[in-house]
Symmetry: C2
Amino acid sequence: MAITGKADPGRVIGFLPLYRQVKERLVRRIADGEWQAGRAIPSEMQIAAELGVSQGTVRKALDEMTAERLLIRRQGVGTFVASHDEDRILFQFFKLGRDDGRRVFPDSSVLSVGEQPSDATEAARLGIRRGTRVVRIHRLRSLGGAIAVSERIVVPSARFAGLAACDPVPNNLYGLYAERYGVTVARASESLKAVACPPDDAAHLGLAPGSPVLAIDRLALDLDGQKVEWRVSLCRTDQFHYTSDLK
Amino acid sequence: MAITGKADPGRVIGFLPLYRQVKERLVRRIADGEWQAGRAIPSEMQIAAELGVSQGTVRKALDEMTAERLLIRRQGVGTFVASHDEDRILFQFFKLGRDDGRRVFPDSSVLSVGEQPSDATEAARLGIRRGTRVVRIHRLRSLGGAIAVSERIVVPSARFAGLAACDPVPNNLYGLYAERYGVTVARASESLKAVACPPDDAAHLGLAPGSPVLAIDRLALDLDGQKVEWRVSLCRTDQFHYTSDLK
DNA sequence: TAGTGGTCTAGACCACGAA
DNA sequence: TCGTGGTCTAGACCACTAT
């Protein structure tokens, strides 16, 4: 047993409850690719025996990881590492929907892909040095056949070798990041503004230049909180809307 | 003891785990005003003894209620009913912030308050019959001195008797709903669009008519999921932005 | 039927805050 | 010092799924 069992009274600084120590170890197994997306992890009893803690302690760690959508539990079957399948993307990472309420997965058509040195803005957003190479993707996304979004994506080349040469670039990028590069997008932070649509995007979206569009600026983070991807999406909101639940 | 102890095997339909039954009872005590906002509730042991269940079962109910922000736990002190103080509003219900990152509580200046029969749109959004009387409030909100939002609020008069005569209308409306009317806003659903600003709102916001503004359409629900309030906020986003965390 | 996660209990000890 | 919530354990039984 490598984890200190009961909290030793001498340690005051850096104390972590046992179940948090267990959780950190298990998260690391996902981050390191030891446990892969979509696969079952060992049973609670097996993990408890391996780490020398009680089942209840393992359960509390798994409960938190489930709440953070890192795991999916299926009664009678087992516990699985969450994958970026379309359902998860749709409910966790794609907030734009049709006004008629139908939720559909967006289609994509790629306009350009390339690898270049990062400019100052990209470097600042991604926390890298200016000039560090990045992959840039520009694509249109449609909902139910109607073009809705003009989207520009930037990722550091270092973590995504060969992405620029990928043909075709898949629709579900987060799934690709996980499967091909072992990078798990765990959460993202979005900043929204209403802006006047620039002429070239307006042409792609079928709008008059200057029309109001919703600009979504998103920074995606991995399991360690490292910045993985920056994307800016310009969205038509005449037939679509962005949903945000406050709770 | 009124709660059925162990799950009786005969019941298949409508089965609820014991801790969920406990939770429903405790939520009801808040909804009924038996436990008031900001006040301490009995200790876990007291609740467990009263309901004839173990402390662990009560704890699981309280854990869920804490996760839903209905309760606030303070180690060594007790468990308290969450109140709509400025901190909670700021983090849970107010997503607009300054671009410089400073988070401040918005000021309000009321333009008009009145009670009238509801129109078709209001009735549909609030789930009431058209013509049922509602209170309408129109106010401007500013962040750090700069006017940022033109906001129109509609609530059914039935649940908020005398609200239209309230002078002044307080800045923190959800706090008023709770204290004066016993109505707890538990969660809200927002729908966002970028729109061209109408002339009268543009004048209030200091914008040219037709400028892009963020339109936030919010429906607020109480503890029972009943529709409490509908509000539409038109927001300048030249110096401000709406934050949405996906996780 | 076997194995998984889900629920419930009981009791121990710890950390924290107030008096 | 006392009472609170926080952590950890151990064991029992239930519900669900696959075989």
